[in-house]
């Protein structure tokens, strides 16, 4: 500390401030820890950042909106500037939304900023989840962080839905009515739950104020807490990186937070903010004035939820009708319960997938180098199947728009999507897996024999050969450096029994790793290079030695 005091005199104001803070809150230690955190450079690592920045924009614009929004359902006669609603009876909530749109300076822009940012928040989070899934970034030690991220995604949907319902216009009221119907579809508890939620019969005079409380207090607070946990875990785990020379599970290759990433990420925040502002200033979103105040009798054609609730709406639309069963004195409305089970079940599978894969592989190692999607064919295929399933549910929510805009029959569109929902994921799985395996085979070929150059040479003895150009070390590394798994066998436990659990695990392991392309081993690489002209020098070999340490051991299995 005494040395710090000495430097203070030389350093002037900045150093003085730094020293002042350091002596009181130990800022040097914090900066040393956080400021030297290394982040790798890749575009796909910025998707989560987009979601984070959208959340900041949501906080700012949302705060502005709370200044003017009044969450009450007391009826008033509208006397604002919007002509086609002048004199109409509506709730205070809707009237204040109209006032924000037409009379508060910058209000409409802020409403649109808030809504576009909300759509972007969930979309960016979803894309970030897909990146994490397909690169295997959820593997040990990051399984818990995957679940935290999943919670953020679900909370994003909750925040979005509670916000969507606040203006109390026809569209949001229709959306709430669907939720009310789903709640009432629950046997036994449904009617009571609905009554408690709405404070009586739907729509009542409570729901907007209640959703407002959730929307501006509980849900954002939870999101903030989970974001802090999420980012804290990123710091604890250090960031993952793609494979390349010198990139290992034990290191991170990139730039430090201070000053490179602070500048980069800070700039990126303003870019995301700018894009949101640009879109909000030029494109209408949720023109509430078109829909009129909520009235339970009218329902507008083309009533849809925001995109992130679309898959649940689609599930409802795709469910076969006439599934009600009367049993035990209650009605089991399976046409409502089934979609709820499908929707919640899908989300549960997403949340638990890392644990499932870890159990099947039995891999307890830490993974900090990301997989190329093709090098985990079964996972990638499962992901593609999941995306297809979700997309089919999602498309189900827009059957009417697909029908009118492409001049198709609504019924045919619905039936087609019902079929796609079941068959699509299977086809997507098979195609994706085959594509991955073929790409791996191609990589193997290129790693062993280089790229075809198109140059044909005639040898002195008359033979024609095509010259293959050897890869440089970087490319070679990418092609040969991946972890190889093999199916495990069901082994007897301590009592000498093969349990059902072990059998299931062995079966799943076979499902995952039966079809596989072994990584190129050092031996194969040497053999391949000896066949060719000695033009291939040691440079790629040297890299391959470090890369192929593990595969060498597994070579016998690979050959059979």
């Amino acid at each position: 500390m005494s040395t710090a005091v000495n430097t203070q005199k030389k350093g002037g104001f900045l150093a003085g401030t730094a020293n002042y803070l350091d002596e009181r809150v130990g800022v040097a230690g914090i900066l040393k820890e956080f400021g030297r955190k290394i982040f790798p450079d890749h575009w796909s690592f910025m998707l989560g950042e987009v979601a984070l920045y959208s959340f900041f924009v949501l906080l700012l614009s949302g705060t502005f909106l709370t200044f003017f929004f009044q969450p009450a359902m007391t009826p008033v006669i509208y006397d604002g500037v919007y002509g086609p609603l002048k004199g109409a009876e509506m709730s205070i909530a809707y009237a204040s939304t109209l006032d924000i749109s037409f009379e508060v300076r910058g209000g409409l822009l802020m409403r649109q900023v808030h809504h576009w940012a909300a759509l972007l928040f969930v979309a960016a989070a979803g894309l970030h989840m897909l990146r994490v899934f397909f690169t295997g970034a959820f593997r040990k030690p990051r399984e818990i962080n995957w679940v935290v991220g999943f919670m953020l995604f679900v909370l994003g949907m909750a925040a979005g839905f509670t916000g969507y319902s606040l203006p109390d216009d026809l569209l949001s009221g229709n959306g709430l009515r669907i939720i009310d119907g789903m709640i009432k579809g629950l046997p036994v508890i449904g009617a009571y739950t609905s009554s408690l939620l709405f404070g009586g019969e739907f729509p009542g005079e409570q729901i907007v104020a209640r959703l407002y409380g959730l929307h501006i207090l509980l849900v954002p607070a939870l999101i903030l807490i989970f974001i802090v946990i999420h980012l804290f875990m990123v710091v604890i785990h250090k960031h993952t990186h793609y494979s390349g020379p010198g990139r290992k599970d034990s290191n991170v290759v990139g730039y430090p937070l201070m000053p490179v990433y602070v500048a980069k990420a800070g700039g990126f925040f303003f870019i995301v903010f700018g894009v949101i502002m640009l879109v909000a200033a030029t494109f209408t979103i949720n023109p509430v004035w078109n829909y009129g105040g909520y009235d339970p009798s009218p329902v507008s054609a083309g009533t849809q939820p925001d995109w992130y609730i679309g898959f649940l709406d689609g599930a409802l639309r795709l469910a076969p009708s006439h599934l009600e069963v009367h049993a035990g004195g209650v009605t089991w409305a399976w046409n409502i319960l089934l979609p709820m089970i499908v929707g919640v079940g899908f989300l549960a599978v997403v949340a638990l997938y890392p644990f499932l894969e870890a159990w099947v592989t039995g891999d307890k190692r830490e993974h900090h180098v990301l997989d190329r999607p093709r090098n985990a064919p079964t996972r990638t295929a499962i992901g593609a199947a999941g995306v297809t399933f979700y997309a089919a549910l999602w498309a189900g929510a827009s059957t009417d728009l697909i029908a009118t805009n492409f001049l198709l029959s609504l019924n045919n569109v619905l039936n087609a999507i019902q079929i796609i929902l079941i068959v699509g994921p299977i086809i997507a799985y098979i195609i994706t897996k085959r594509v991955c395996l073929s790409l791996q085979r191609k990589d193997r070929e290129i790693a062993l024999h280089g790229r075809e150059s198109g140059r044909i040479i005639r040898m002195p003895h008359g033979e024609y050969i095509e010259v293959h150009e050897p890869l440089d070390a970087f490319e070679q590394y990418k092609l040969v450096d991946f972890k190889d798994y093999q199916p495990t066998l069901a082994r007897p436990n301590a009592q000498g029994k093969i349990t059902l659990r072990a059998r299931l695990r062995a079966g799943l392991s076979r499902f995952y790793f039966e079809d596989r392309i072994a990584p190129v081993s050092q031996g194969e690489l040497d053999a391949a290079h000896h066949d060719h002209a000695p033009a291939v020098t040691e440079a790629p070999k040297k890299k391959a030695v470090t890369a192929a340490k593990k595969p060498v051991a597994k070579k016998p299995a690979a050959k059979k």
């Binding site: 450079d41 575009w43 796909s44 690592f45 910025m46 998707l47 002509g83 086609p84 609603l85 002048k86 004199g87 109409a88 037409f102 409409l108 576009w116 759509l119 972007l120 979309a123 960016a124 894309l127 026809l170 569209l171 990126f268 870019i271 995301v272 894009v275 879109v279 200033a281 030029t282 494109f283 209408t284 979103i285 949720n286 023109p287 004035w289 078109n290 009129g292 009235d295 009798s297 009218p298 329902v299 507008s300 054609a301 083309g302 849809q304 939820p305 925001d306 995109w307 679309g310 827009s398 059957t399 728009l401 029908a403 009118t404 001049l407 198709l408 029959s409 609504l410 019924n411 045919n412």
Partner: protein, 267 residues
């Protein structure tokens, strides 16, 4: 080159003369035609004899264009309904929007380019109207957009929005049928459609929606047609599905492009 030479030789005519002559000719003939048409229009006789002549012309047009399906006297056939008693309003709606004469069978007749002049359409409507008592073509006063837009909006949401969408963006019906968008529909067609219930649309007669109600609805729709969204480009007024597509494809697409730019190694 010839044009250059003439100029150098000191031509008698200015090079622009030909263009001027053509322009003058066009103005005289076009203006004359317009004036003549206007004169004919203004002196259109409202006499019984003229009516008879109009119905006669309508009958001829009907025989030539409609009778193969609707029957020589509009009595209908296996392929098309009887037109006796549908009224002039129905005929004008169908023909003036181009839906009739129908060209292809399908779930619903589509709007297509109108096949007749205004005069011919009036004649056909007069003929169909003469077949039996039915709704007449609304007067200009009935369709004037000077009613109560607030009330019209409310009536529209209660009676029309479930098929046509809250802003008249259209919507799907079963088996390939649909409620068309009303974003460009003219006031007289809106009125006639309510009155006659074309295709899958129910009839909203004067007991159901009074002429004042109809006027209010037209006032509301005209307001929506003439006043673009205060929030910027409307994305077709199709609601959250289009907004979702837009955020995924364009906004996220733009942001990913930027991330790729940021993530690129500087050379």
């Amino acid at each position: 080159m010839a044009f250059m030479k003439r100029n150098l030789n000191g031509s008698r005519r200015h090079p622009m003369a030909a263009i001027l002559v053509i322009a003058a000719g066009l103005a005289v003939s076009g203006g004359g035609y317009a004036a003549a048409t206007a004169a004919v229009e203004s002196t259109k006789p409202v006499t019984a004899a003229a009516d008879a002549a109009q119905v006669d012309l309508g009958h001829k047009l009907f025989l030539a264009n409609c009778a193969s399906c609707h029957g020589k006297n509009g009595e209908g056939s296996a392929n098309a309904p009887s037109l006796i008693g549908v009224g002039a309003a129905a005929a004008e709606f169908q023909v003036d929007t181009g839906r009739m004469p129908g060209q292809a069978s399908g779930p619903q007749l589509m709007v297509k380019p109108v096949q007749f002049t205004g005069e011919e359409i009036d004649a056909i409507a007069a003929y169909v109207g003469s077949l039996g008592p039915g709704p007449a073509i609304p007067t200009d006063a009935q369709i004037a957009a000077n009613g109560n837009a607030t009330r019209g909006g409310e009536l529209f949401r209660i009676n029309c929005a479930m098929c046509h969408n809250a802003v008249g963006a259209g919507g799907a019906l079963t088996q390939g049928k649909y409620a068309p968008a009303l974003t460009h529909t003219k006031a007289d067609h809106i009125y006639e459609a309510m009155l006659t219930g074309p295709q899958n649309m129910p009839v909203f007669n004067d007991a159901n929606l009074t002429p004042t109600d109809k006027k209010d609805i037209i006032t509301y729709l005209t307001y929506v047609q003439n006043n673009p969204s205060a929030g910027g480009y409307e994305l077709g007024n199709l609601g959250p599905v289009v907004e979702g597509l837009f955020i995924w494809i364009f906004v996220l697409g733009l942001i990913i492009t930027i991330t790729i730019w940021l993530g690129a190694k500087s050379n």
